[in-house]
């Protein structure tokens, strides 16, 4: 009975892998320039258009494991200094190695609020709208003046925190289909498809490219 109750209580957590991380960086770009860039939702998918090469076989050979193919503004409302946006994001796993069905592409809707006075951006996954592979996602971006941790020539400091809940069942589906198509040894497949380490590194890489773009 206790086991059954435990299963019922913990069942929502059995199917989710939680990741969280932060990204802090000094930048030689002005706060306003960075804010304008971070608020251009439609161009997010161009940031990692070359894909994210996480899995490196050798120095020269690496696999492109994910790229963002859609960042579409569904609706946007501007009120005073705050812009509220519903944004649709779609990622494509293993773009050059597999031909996965489009239904297996991780996708989700975000509700983003960008404040042009406070120079902040926050986004949260909208659970009421269709989503696949991710059950939750939260992003906070804060821009401030450079501090003692930055170099003298830097103009701004970027602080990003993010959290995501990966839906393990969806992820397993992507993993099984990809492994089947690629016909790789199990040891490589397991490394390649480690959801936690993969998504943590994917988002860090994305933010790195984001501020550089």
């Amino acid at each position: 009975m206790n086991l059954l109750l435990s299963l019922i209580f913990f069942s929502p957590f059995l199917f989710a892998t939680n990741i969280q991380g932060s990204y802090n960086k000094c930048s030689d770009q002005s706060q306003q320039a960075l804010f304008d860039k971070f608020s251009k939702f439609e161009s997010y998918h161009e940031i990692d258009k070359d894909g994210f090469k996480y899995f490196k076989l050798t120095k020269k050979i690496s696999l492109n494991v994910m790229d963002m193919i859609d960042s579409k503004v569904i609706k946007e409302i501007k009120k005073d200094s705050v812009t509220t946006t519903i944004l649709y994001i779609r990622l494509r796993p293993l773009p050059n190695q597999t031909t996965l069905a489009a239904k297996m592409y991780p996708r989700f809707h975000l509700l983003c609020k960008s404040n042009m006075k406070a120079l902040t951006l926050s986004c949260n996954l909208v659970k009421k709208l269709p989503h696949y592979a991710l059950d939750d996602f939260n992003l906070e971006v804060k821009l401030s003046e450079n501090d003692s941790t930055c170099k003298k020539r830097d103009l701004s400091k970027i602080e990003i925190t993010y959290k995501a809940d990966i839906n393990d069942q969806d992820y397993e589906e992507i993993k099984a289909e990809s492994a089947d198509q690629m016909n790789f040894p199990q040891v490589i497949v397991d490394r390649l498809f480690n959801a936690r380490s993969f998504f943590e590194k994917y988002w860090k890489n994305f933010f790195e490219e984001w501020q550089k773009s």
């Binding site: 409302i77 009120k79 509220t84 069905a101 609020k113 709208l129 269709p130």
Partner: protein, 95 residues
């Protein structure tokens, strides 16, 4: 491929008509060798063109399939405009 051979055949005929094909057997042998080599090159080119065409066609069909699948997903996951407005309203924004 057949068309290429036909063109080559016409070329040979026209060469014969204008008398460009050498008279001596040695020259003729050289001409035949050259023609054979040209024919081989044309065959290889035709083969490559066929392969390119096939892969292009395959790519186009795949593209069409992907678009269709995307459209299906978009239709399945079509968003209700009222729901979008509700979500924005809940977030503190007016319609």
């Amino acid at each position: 491929m057949k068309q290429l051979l036909y063109i080559l055949f016409l070329f040979l005929i026209s060469c014969g008509d204008t008398g460009t094909v050498a008279d001596s057997s040695e020259d003729m042998a050289r001409e035949i060798k050259l023609l054979r080599e040209s024919l081989e090159k044309i065959s290889a080119l035709a083969e490559k063109m066929t392969e390119d065409y096939d892969s292009l066609k395959e790519g186009l069909i795949e593209g069409e399939e992907e678009r269709t699948e995307d459209e299906e997903i978009e239709a399945d996951e079509e968003l209700n405009p009222d729901l979008i407005d509700d979500i924005l309203e809940e977030s503190g924004e007016t319609k």
